[in-house]
């Protein structure tokens, strides 16, 4: 029973990491930037969701509000900040890293602005359904209706994303722009707009990750939330494990990370909470530096 518990907790946490990893991958594929502000964007989206919950009272309204808010904010960041940066820092020794450093700066700015608007204290979003574990044969699991819901929503989003990427013209444009922007342009794809769209999709995915990370925890969040730092680190590590270029890789990386951490905490030591993801990252980079999915297949989905 403990084994099953550990596995299910790992899968739930992992599916949230997977969403965050997808956000990293979408941004990386569209603009070759590692967006460290992703956690700040997810946090901001969670505040959007909080506003929706406190006004309308329904988590089911908050979720799309956070997604749309997150998507719009991410699109604006790409349109205004990233394009200007790329234009102005197009030569010189820091050209390659300038946008990445800028996202670190943006992370700080977002957190400060959130503190100014909402204050630094803990706010709370209540989960839409019970987080009390299911009971089987008299023993209670940690796995709860809420965790099941998280899994289902993440799975549905993944299926929708897969359909978007594999079955639509827009998805073809997104993939072509990621792999070969010049050929995409010569084929008539407006690559600049497609890049903005990539950021917007990432913003929406990050928003869902942020909301679920919050309600899957104790429901509290603040500008300095440790939960969001953990989300940033885990999502990034999951993306790297998955090869950084592959949506499927991001999902597998997230699940792998979630399950492994869960088992380490349960069977090795719960004191490894913060260091476990980093150790896993190092081990993966030593054994398979190209990520789990590998180079060739890794560029697929």
């Amino acid at each position: 029973m403990q084994l099953l518990n550990t596995l299910l907790i790992g899968i739930t946490a992992g599916s949230i990491y997977a969403l965050m990893a997808i956000a990293f991958v979408l941004v990386w594929r569209s603009t070759r930037v590692v967006n460290f502000a992703q956690a700040g964007m997810a946090l901001l989206s969670t505040y959007f969701g909080y506003e929706a919950v406190s006004r309308i009272g329904s988590f089911w309204v908050a979720l799309p509000v956070a997604m749309i808010g997150g998507a719009l904010f991410a699109a604006l960041v790409e349109l205004i900040l990233m394009r200007l940066l790329v234009k102005h820092a197009s030569s010189g020794p820091i050209a390659g890293v300038a946008p990445i450093i800028a996202t670190l700066g943006l992370l700080g700015v977002i957190r400060s602005v959130i503190s100014m608007i909402w204050g630094g204290q803990d706010l709370r979003i209540v989960a839409p359904i019970s987080n009390n574990g299911f009971t089987i044969n008299g023993s209670t699991l940690v796995f709860s209706p809420l965790k099941l819901l998280v899994l289902v929503v993440v799975a549905v989003l993944l299926i929708l994303l897969t359909i978007l990427f594999q079955k639509t013209n827009l998805g073809l444009a997104l993939r072509a722009s990621a792999h070969a922007p010049e050929i995409a342009r010569l084929s008539g794809v407006r690559v600049d707009s497609v890049r903005t769209l990539g950021w917007a999709l990432a913003g929406a995915a990050g928003a869902v990750a942020g909301l679920f990370q919050t309600v899957n925890g104790n429901g509290n969040f603040s500008p300095d939330s440790i939960e969001f730092s953990l989300l940033l680190v885990s999502g990034f590590i999951a993306a790297v494990i998955g090869g950084l270029d592959s949506l499927l890789g991001a999902v597998l990386g997230g699940l792998f990370l979630g399950i492994t951490i869960s088992f380490v905490l349960m069977y090795v030591s719960s004191g490894l909470f913060f260091i476990a993801p980093f150790i896993i990252l190092l081990i993966v980079l030593f054994i398979r530096p190209q990520g789990i999915i590998g180079v060739k297949a890794g560029r697929r989905a």
């Binding site: 013209n169 073809l172 444009a173 993939r175 072509a176 792999h179 070969a180 010049e182 050929i183 995409a184 342009r185 010569l186 084929s187 008539g188 794809v189 407006r190 690559v191 560029r299 697929r300």
Partner: protein
């Protein structure tokens, strides 16, 4: 004249890659652009398709000035560019590469018709339609690159070294296909080639570039017979 270029100059940083180039290609004609490495052939083509911004000069296409217009717009005006080095996207399937060429047309029926047309021209692509394009041979990839360009219903086709790295027999096939397409689809074609003899043989007119400048323009056959051109570019 459908394509008119006058005094086009393109810089790469401080280097002047294309220097005051003027040329004209009539509708339905195939023009071969030959010249040594670094003569500015690729840069000229990239400036015509909007990938490189010209420093000065004017490009006129079917009576419309298109200097400095972005490639994604030029495709919609009927200009298709097959860039150097088998320009296909290896991560996509053959079908997806072809569909990409018609993606801006937003008309499912037209896309299907063009797909059938391309598969008729290149039956090999039809046999490999759902394979990833990195499983194709070099010649098949070049067919795919040209096929993708045809999918966007071009009137002007810009081809950059389609023979690069291909076996002699395959080169011959590709050149013959380019010639046939030009005639059958009434395309205007600009063919940039290192393989000067192969290109001039199928071309209507030839343009010789040297150090960014046009040094000779003539009927292709006349250039083949020109002793100076023979010595410098045809190797005998």
């Amino acid at each position: 004249m459908s394509l008119n270029v006058s005094n086009l100059t393109v810089h790469h940083g401080a280097i002047c890659a294309v220097n005051q180039v003027s040329l004209a290609v009539p509708t339905g004609k195939l023009a071969a652009i030959i010249g040594a490495n670094g003569a500015g052939k690729t840069t000229l083509l990239r400036a015509l398709s909007g990938l490189n911004k010209p420093t000065s000069g004017v490009v006129n296409w079917m009576g419309q000035t298109i200097t400095g217009v972005k490639p994604e717009k030029l495709v919609r005006l009927g200009i298709s560019h097959v860039s150097e080095g088998k320009s296909v996207i290896p991560e996509l399937t053959v079908k997806e590469n072809l569909e990409l060429g018609a993606i801006w047309r937003k008309n499912g029926k037209e896309m299907k018709e063009s797909l059938d047309q391309v598969v008729t021209i290149f039956p090999r692509l039809g046999e490999r339609i759902s394979q990833r394009s990195d499983t194709l041979s070099g010649g098949e990839r070049q067919m795919l690159a040209i096929g993708r360009a045809i999918m966007s219903k071009p009137k002007l086709l810009l081809l950059d070294e389609p023979s690069l790295g291909l076996a002699p027999l395959v080169v011959e096939q590709i050149f013959q296909t380019i010639r046939d397409l030009t005639t059958e689809m009434r395309l205007t074609v600009l063919l940039v080639e290192q393989n000067a003899m192969g290109a001039l043989k199928i071309a209507d007119l030839g343009i010789v570039l040297n150090l960014g400048k046009v040094v000779a323009v003539n009927h292709a056959q006349a250039l083949i017979e020109d002793p100076a051109v023979r010595a410098a570019y045809l190797g005998y």
